[in-house]
């Protein structure tokens, strides 16, 4: 009973996170592409409850950032005017899942002030909005690519481990081939065959296809190891002796052993694939400007000056940590559940 609750709790958390990202337009206060060229790299906005005269406000308010006269990209709060945080305000228009159009945002402040929950990037774009919108592409791509990798990996791994002999040998050499090839070149070649400008949706499918197909090798190798040891067990030999068919043995005795590895892999691969977009975008295969994704947000961190000067640029990594912890929890919970079933 407790285990069931655990799964439910973990699932609820994940669903909530995904829902938030699906509703990015509503939750994010701004359009992710809008530049505020006077505010590059502003730190996250601070919330205040007590004003300069020491009065307490129940509704939090913020101050506008202004550039400090000397010093580069350094800001201070303009204490002159308070901007109370408002809820359900009108702002830029957005659509949710391509269906609902609206311009009501969860929170915001009156102009000209801007609320930067997670600071701004080098163009003064609101990073919180970019993270929310970026999650849509990245999560979907990560999940789909993981699915493809695991499916291919399971297929090859099972066949190879179960049937052994030359099938196994050639499959494993293929795995090794996939692990060492200079993918850079393949991706460059892929890029050169594509039309110059590809829309974000096309980029998305491309990402999924590329990452998913390259990534099957590792799960295949791991699954094969498990299958190899599972089929050597006594009860497998025994059930074979009772006349069980291959497919029965695979289904009943071998596959269940692979679930653990598959779930662990799944929880690992999703964040890994999201991060992999950083590399892909170097080759021109990532999601391109001004659309955001967690991959291209993380890519900012690869510049030393950004990492050393603007700590809030780590925010996308934090978002990814939260999500991947969520996946891990669900994977763990399911794993536990399966094991308790099998005993």
């Amino acid at each position: 009973m407790r285990k069931k609750q655990k799964i439910v709790a973990a699932l609820m958390l994940l669903v909530a996170l995904h829902l938030a990202i699906l509703l990015a337009g509503f939750i994010a206060p701004y359009n992710p592409a809008t530049q505020n060229r006077d505010f590059p790299f502003v730190p996250p906005t601070r919330f205040h409850f007590a004003d300069a005269r020491g009065h307490f406000h129940l509704r939090p308010f913020i101050y506008q950032w202004t550039v400090r006269p000397e010093g580069f990209n350094e800001y201070e709060e303009a204490r002159g005017r308070e901007y109370p945080v408002q809820f359900f305000v009108r702002g830029p228009e957005y659509t949710i899942a391509g269906l609902v159009r609206s311009d009501v945002h969860l929170f915001g402040v009156e102009g000209p002030a801007r609320i930067f929950l997670a600071g701004s990037d080098g163009f003064g774009r609101d990073q919180f909005s970019r993270i929310m919108y970026g999650g849509q592409i990245s999560l979907a791509a990560g999940l789909l690519a993981t699915g493809i990798s695991l499916f291919l990996g399971l297929l090859v791994g099972c066949i190879s481990g179960f049937y052994g002999s030359w099938i196994d040998e050639s499959a494993m050499r293929l795995v090794e081939l996939f692990l060492v090839l200079p993918w850079l070149y393949l991706l460059l070649a892929v890029r050169s065959f594509l039309p110059l400008h590809i829309s974000p949706t096309q980029t998305f499918f491309l990402l999924v296809a590329v990452i998913g197909t390259i990534g099957w090798a590792r799960p295949a190798r791991l699954v094969r190891g498990i299958v190899l040891s599972a089929k050597g067990r006594k009860y497998v030999t025994a059930s074979r002796g009772f006349g069980a068919t291959d497919s029965y043995i695979l289904r009943r005795h071998v596959l269940p052993h692979t679930y653990g590895v598959l779930l662990t892999q799944a929880a690992l691969l999703v964040p890994q694939y999201i991060v992999a977009e950083v590399t892909l975008s170097f080759l021109g295969l990532g999601v391109s400007e001004p659309v955001s994704s967690w991959g291209n947000l993380l890519a900012n961190l690869q510049q030393y000056n950004v990492l050393a000067s603007y700590w809030w640029m780590f925010a996308p990594a934090l978002a990814l940590v939260i999500i991947s912890l969520g996946y891990l929890k669900v994977a763990n919970a399911i794993h536990e559940r399966l094991q308790s079933d099998s005993i």
Binding site: L196, L283, Y304, N305
Partner: protein, 591 residues
Amino acid sequence: MHRWGCFATLLLACGHACFASSAPQPPQHGEDLLVTDNQIGRYGGTLVLAQRSEPKTLNPVTAADAPSREVIGRLTADLIHINRWTQNTEPALAKAWSVSNDGRVFTVKLRHGLRFSDGQPFDADDVVFSFQVYLDENVHSPQRDLLVVGGKPIKVQKIDQYSVRFTLAQPYAAAERIFDSLAMMPRHLLERPYKAGQFAQALTLNTPPAEIAGMGPFRVKQYIPGQRIVLERNPFYWKADRSKNRLPYLDELVFLFVGNEDAQAIRFQAGETDIISRLSAENYALLSKDVATRGTDFFDLGPSLEYDFLVFNLNDLRSKNLDSIAAKQAWFQAVKFRQAVSSAIDRDSIVKLVYTGHGAALWGNVSPSNKLWTDQMLPHTPYSLDRARELLKSEGFSWRSDGQLIDRQGVAVEFSVITSTSNAQRMKMATLIQDDLGKLGMNVHVVPLEFRALLDRVFQTYDYEASIMALGGGDADPNPEMNVWLSNGGTHLWRLGEARPATDWEALIDQLMQKQMVQLKYKERKHLYDQAQEIIAANVPFVFLATPNILVGARKNLGNFKPAILDPNTLWNVEQLYFIPGNGARPGEKP
């Protein structure tokens, strides 16, 4: 203090016989040393700096990459040199030179009694040999094209042991500038591999130091693959300070190979290197924050000679299978369209956000730093969306109700801009331009491409619509730019491989550039080049954007440090650099 004592004994003990030592040799009778007027320094010390990638070769004739050229530049010397500070030519291995009245014959007198870094004498035979190699078609030297004037290679003749005559097929403006950075090579070491047809394989990084000799201030001591190359003082170097101290002052010069620009900055910040050149504006801001604690100085030398630009693909696409791009060329070919784009780009934002204020907006190809050649009268089109809209309107463009720009046929204006992923600055420019042109109703897609893939599209397949690139940065003189502006030039990027100029204004530029090339008087030449600049600016084949400032840093206790706009910005006077004592020597330096 101790070192002086040791040093003196060493000199006494060795005398002339000791060629293996890198202690500076005392001036000899009849040796025509060049006396510099720098502050008198102090011998000793090791200067360490970091390169982004490893040098590939030590061969001055075949080297094409920047790190190799940076190292080779310290190992070799040229006849006539461009002073990086004054931007003018000055005698180097040549003591003097004279030009015939028609500007075609150069007679160069060499300094007497100079020696290569291995102690062997240097004379006219080495000069003739060096030019023979540079001009040999089978060696494929990238510098060969420089030495072909008016379609014919320069003729080189030895007159006597210390004089050489150079004959050009036609007069060539500022011809003495082409001698800059042409390394004079030792015939006694290189003639054999050259005759055997193996010149390219000579002088690699694996060549033993004993088989490498040059006329530069340093010579090779040790190369460790992937890590560093260590140069030591050339004890026979041909420059001395006013007190007859033979230069260079430094014992050793070490180049570390560190991988990328960020690693360069990190090494400097940690105090592992003494000089950093060509800092990016962002790292400049980061590093100069802790000037106070680190004993370093940073310098903003002002705009570089490089220019960033947006170029539209105007190539003849009839033979290619690129119909969708060819259709868009109708827009790109309209001067008013390009002018509108130019007016709609907020260059100040580029300078501010991309170069964090350490850069300059550009409206022409010549940087404001280029004192001799920049055209002061060049109009600066102000940032104005209204002007841009008007230009578009008069060209027949209009706007849909949702703000999208459409042409006469009602086709939405939409194009992609390619840019190199290895250049963060240009990627940022692309994002800004995308936003700027979006305000005009143009739908611009930014397409980042890996650098070679980009070059392939621009030079080979012509499969692109617009691109953000950069050129220039070599010399201040207009002549190295010839191939950018001549319509049949190899770098005439907007329309490559033209047999005849496609437009009247391109024909005009061709004429002006050809004329300035053979014009020997500066004033007339400047006038011609100004006209060319104005035509270029008015017809916007390139939408000039901005130029970054040259930003460098160095340890505070480095004497005679005089960074310059021209490449190599910090090392051009490396023979004069020295460590001012007392001010804390480099950590790790041996006493």
